[in-house]
Amino acid sequence: MHSRFAQSAEHAATDFASSFALSSEKFPELQRTADFLMAGSVVRANIIGVDLFEAFVRSFSHLQISAHESAPALEIRLWDVEATGIGDPHDVITYDPSQTGETVPSADGRYVYFGRPQLQTVLDRQGGTITGSVGSASRLTLYDVGRPLHSELLLWHHDHDLLPVHAGLVSRDGEGVLLAGPGGSGKSTTSVMCHLAGFAYLADDYVAVEWRGDGTVHGHSIYNSTHIDPKHLERFPQAITSTAVSGTLTREDKSLVILSQAEAGGFSGEARIRVLALPRVAHTPHTTVRRATKVEALLRLAPSSLFLMPYAGMGRTDFARLNELVNTIPAYWLELGEDLEEIPLVVDQLLKDASVS
């Protein structure tokens, strides 16, 4: 995908802001707003296009708060090109799923343009806005609906001293179990089964980790969605399977479930991380745990987490922080057995043992 914005993310920011303002002026009846609490900061979604608003806020609904009077720390401003007729300023939207996205920063790093075939935005890292256009709400991919503005939001969290990690997170009474492992390791299965068993769900794939002055480590939720392999969907209860949505594109090989719509359990925005669990599919009848070394934990956590922030120059500091995490939090292998309902019982015991040690 070659964008005319390749020359200046700053110009893109100006153009998008103008088009958004025009959309807002011409279509006030299509404008919707909602406030969310993300990692302790107010994030406002200001979206023009009713269907677009509904599609975008679903996976954040567990973080929604009453309308906040003060200025948000981050404002997300999007308009639907098809709904408003207000065009994509530079005709970049293509809907061609074979095209890859692009990321283009301004020279000073303040603005970062993110271009995808059906959605493009500019993140203003200093001004605290994400502004952009969607070709049509009806043509968003499953990933766009399940993890909206993923690249933009992970960078925003990173800019605010929160480390995005590739992990799941569930909690009881504010005490969390961070689930680390590569794709296919069982993070989503473990997170969802714990959710169904009464744990608060925070994540199955991305967690923003915060180190606090008192030495504690906390994880923050971003999305309440999960993607499940259709072959495994039948193992989950109807509350989950009845809300699963399949994609139409070749690369959409997993079904999307917005857990807040499934209404099968509770959520939390934040938890103190007490234990690091490393799920692994064991093909045994029962789920068991055994202590993991710090090296095993780092090898399980670092490779995929570091490349959530694939920008040149960030990796060394982030690796040091991941090393700090595995040095601070005890880690256990979670060998997942065939009986899925056993998993939350084992995780519960792990959390209890970690909380008293």
């Binding site: 303040r110 090296v295 490779p303 570091l306 490349f307 694939p310 040149a312 690796f319 090393n323 040095n327």
Partner: protein
């Protein structure tokens, strides 16, 4: 064959590494490949991070394992060549050696260093275009 008098330093802007409990984990931040090396290899990586010369590294290991002197010289040079070939080190000082850390002890028995390489992230990243540098967030 590398020259024993030479010094090799980690490519600081592209490589992050840490020795934990006698094992070194090394990340190539440019292409997603990552490595582990334990025992003697982990201590060698620690000394490389401190920017000790190849001669010093060989001397220290030979002092600890005099009966393996011949093997040590061959193995250390081969290990350095492998680190160099994989882009993890460059010849000469980086100007920023890590502080000397005497907590990492030489193991009780000698074994040739083995650099274990993992490429599944590198394979995934190869499908995407390289990402730019964006710097720190400009002050609000």
């Amino acid at each position: 064959m590398t020259d024993s008098a030479k010094l090799y330093a980690p490519v600081r802007q592209d490589v992050a590494g840490k020795v934990i409990d006698g094992e070194a984990i090394i990340m190539n931040l440019t292409n997603g490949a990552y490595y582990s090396v334990d025992a003697v290899g982990a201590v060698i990586w620690q000394w490389v991070d401190e920017e000790q010369t190849v001669a010093t590294i060989i001397e220290r290991l030979t002092t600890a394992f005099p009966q393996s002197a011949a093997a040590i010289k061959v193995d250390v040079n081969a290990f350095m060549a492998q680190l160099l070939a994989d882009g993890l080190v460059h010849e000469g000082s980086s100007g920023f050696p890590s502080p000397v850390d005497n907590s990492h002890k030489v193991p009780s028995a000698y074994s040739a260093p083995v650099l274990n390489k993992y490429t599944e992230m590198a394979d995934l990243l190869a499908l995407d275009p390289p990402m730019p540098s964006i710097g720190q967030r400009p002050n609000a």
